[in-house]
Symmetry: C2
Subunit: 216 residues, 2 copies
């Protein structure tokens, strides 16, 4: 990575802190809506957020699920490109764009942080493309579970138990499939002994076997 080792120094961190406010949102709460003027940039302190895009034809596409330490709220022509909605109880940093721009003029080095995050988000979106274009839905979903299991907060490495913060519709809208297919395919994965469903939101997953299945 280009700036993998970058860290803000104490002064920079404080300067950024000075213009940020800490805010809280309960679960299933809209933080902002698509096409609304982009006033703030957000950083997740804890919780989870989905970015969703409303298509002209009425369907919904989820661009990303975001976790602690991720950033969101980038704009296109001054407007938010997608809506941001909390999946669960979430705490955020809220940074007003005008103040941020001023800060960056004085301390251009801070941009590295944002460049770092932009590159991270881009990689995630590329992985998203890879998932969403698997011709077989089993691979899409299996790959999605692997992706989720990278989130330490929601995956226990000992017991291999994954807790999903999103519902079936969210998964379907992320992978571009019908929500019934999500259900059915989870069953297929269970029949292949790749996962064991404990409840609708919790499952034990066999990461090794899943990886093998995907690469075939």
């Amino acid at each position: 990575m280009m700036f993998g080792d970058f860290r803000l120094d104490a002064q920079e961190r404080e300067a950024l802190n000075a213009i940020s406010s800490k805010i809280h949102k309960p679960a299933k709460c809209r933080i902002y809506a698509q096409d609304e003027p982009a006033r703030y940039l957000y950083i997740i302190r804890s919780g989870a957020v989905r970015l969703e895009y409303q298509r002209e034809d009425g369907r919904n596409q989820i661009f990303a699920f975001l976790w602690a330490d991720n950033m969101f709220g980038t704009a296109e022509n001054g407007l938010y490109r997608a809506s941001a909605v909390t999946l669960i109880d979430t705490y955020l940093f809220q940074i007003p764009y005008p103040a941020l721009r001023t800060l960056i003029e004085f301390r251009p080095r801070i941009q590295t942080l944002f460049l770092q995050h932009a590159l991270k988000y881009t990689r995630a979106t590329e992985r998203h493309v890879l998932l969403a274009t698997y011709p077989l839905v089993t691979k899409r979903l299996a790959g999605f579970l692997l992706e989720c299991s990278k989130q330490a907060d929601f995956f226990d490495r000992r017991s291999h138990i994954l807790t999903l913060a999103m519902d079936r519709k969210d998964i379907a809208d992320y992978l571009g499939i019908a929500l019934e297919t999500t259900s059915r395919t989870l069953k297929v994965l269970e029949d292949m002994d790749l996962i064991k469903r404990l409840s609708s939101q919790r499952m034990q997953i066999n990461t090794e076997q899943i990886r093998i299945m995907i690469s075939q």
Copy 2:
């Protein structure tokens, strides 16, 4: 956009120029390969490039088609994430990463340029997700043609004639469909009077009607 109005000043441009070399690649030439150590960042002066990702299962996924003024060559853990291949005769700026890092330490403001490009690429990738997840292939391909028609170098606004720099396989690998489907779907679009094929690489396209079709 966050830094839509940013421009390098004369000094900065010169400093960046000093560490860049101008190189040339003929059509269908590999610039670098996936998983190779990332030594250079590239900016396209003229021409067109595709970024392609080789999957474990042997299939190929194209991440993006890039045109003049675009940047590519970002790394993950020091390695290129995808291969870069020219579609046509292409002229590039080649910027070595070590020199770039040093330059940025002295002139951190230059980073804005890279942040700008990263955000632009991210938006393109999000549009890619939207295209690749249309349930109907006709919409995927139609949307792709619209996307291509944004490139002034390859689309004549008067005659509405689009020149494709990529072949059928590339389009298929970009949209996640079979190459035969690309052919068939072009025929469907022609039967719907949305396009008129002049040759395999050139076609006249009805952007208005296509937009309407997609939003239904």
